[in-house]
């Protein structure tokens, strides 16, 4: 089980999206290394929210960014 499922319940099953901060972007593969607020790092699909830049906040569900947060919740 990956860290994302390490809590009592699975956030993906729960239809929950989490905010993450972009650390590094691989434009060619449409992937980004992102950090959750708890410090966990994860590779995220960014194809649905391109363009993406480091330090941006993304809403991530099941390893895929589904929306920009624009710095606010």
């Amino acid at each position: 089980m990956s860290d994302g499922c390490a809590s009592e319940h699975c956030i993906t099953c729960g239809d929950i999206a989490v905010e993450m901060t972009v650390l590094r972007v691989d434009d060619a593969r449409e992937l980004a290394l992102c950090a959750a607020d708890d410090g966990r790092h994860e590779t995220v699909e960014i194809a649905l929210v391109l363009p993406v830049h480091p330090a941006e906040r993304l809403l991530v569900h099941a390893g895929t960014a589904i929306a920009h947060q624009g710095g606010i919740l």
């Binding site: 089980m1 319940h9 099953c13 729960g14 699909e45 929210v49 099941a62 895929t64 589904i66």
Partner: protein, 371 residues
Amino acid sequence: MRFVDEFRDAELGRAVSGQILSLVEPGRHYKLMEVCGGHTHSIYKYGIDDLLPANVELVHGPGCPVCVIPMGRVDDGIAVAHEDGVIFTCFGDMMRVPGSDGSLLEAKAAGADIRMVYSPLDALRIAKQNPGREVVFFAIGFETTAPSTALTLKRARAEGVPNFTVMCSHVTIVPPLRALLESPDLRLDGFIGPGHVSTVVGARPFEFIPADYGKPIVIAGFEPLDILQAIEMILRQLAAGRCEVENQYRRVVPYEGNLRALEVMAEVFELRPHFEWRGLGFISHSGLKLTEAYAELDAEVRFSVPGIRVADPKACQCGEVLKGVIKPWECKVFGTACTPERPIGTCMVSSEGACAAYYNFGRFAREREVV
């Protein structure tokens, strides 16, 4: 409001609660359905219903991805997981959903190679690491999750990963809402619309609710003040005799949704003629399957899937809970034979399930005291 603390501010919450009180007509009973399991979870986690007048009732809807998976579909997954050479992957809570002869977790204990993953991309990674094995991803969830599966399928095809397939059990949110609105045993006054699903599909798909059924719907975020404000907006519509789609969660949800996500989904998925929902039965055009173009990545094409319909246990009343006809604690087995540790029904499995939310946040004891 810009930051999370403000969305949990007790003073602001009480102020919105006061506005809600000023909008309700004494003697009228309001039934509002929160569609999304995430809202159910927040409502009981933060005690939002305690801030509402007694005549405003929140009814829990069918928006928990795990809760709506029927037993037969779990059995199908277990059958595929037992095939020689298969590594079967799925999200965490799905492991504990009971089938007719146990759960995926029990099948794993019995020797099947079943692994929990956080994302479809994790499952694809496992496939690349195990080229001699067949890796199947059990895809569940609404439109929030379906784009992730679609992107992974496109990636699997582009990278030429021949040993990766998807057993698609994705569902869509609009058909069950229509089914609920057609249901004679449920009278609703309005809907708190799903926040994260709407991030993908936008607000437009919900326009039929006011247009065809004359009910207001307000798409809402998941913080306590989001939900309270959405309730206030619904009641304001009702007080003014309006019914519209409104978007309380504008900081995330564009009215048109995520067009790129919708494009990807349209390329990879098509609607099934029918799909079975736990407790709701078969609903037309409510489930997704892979398109012909992606048939080589379809586990239901590559493997033999029993596809046998299995009736829910008689004692379990998940169907009535999912339709909002009864409260979780009114189910005969709630908190006794059915608990989060040993769930009988799906609503007790996921934290978004109405029964689990009631149980985990102590509503069981409180409701019983009131009775």
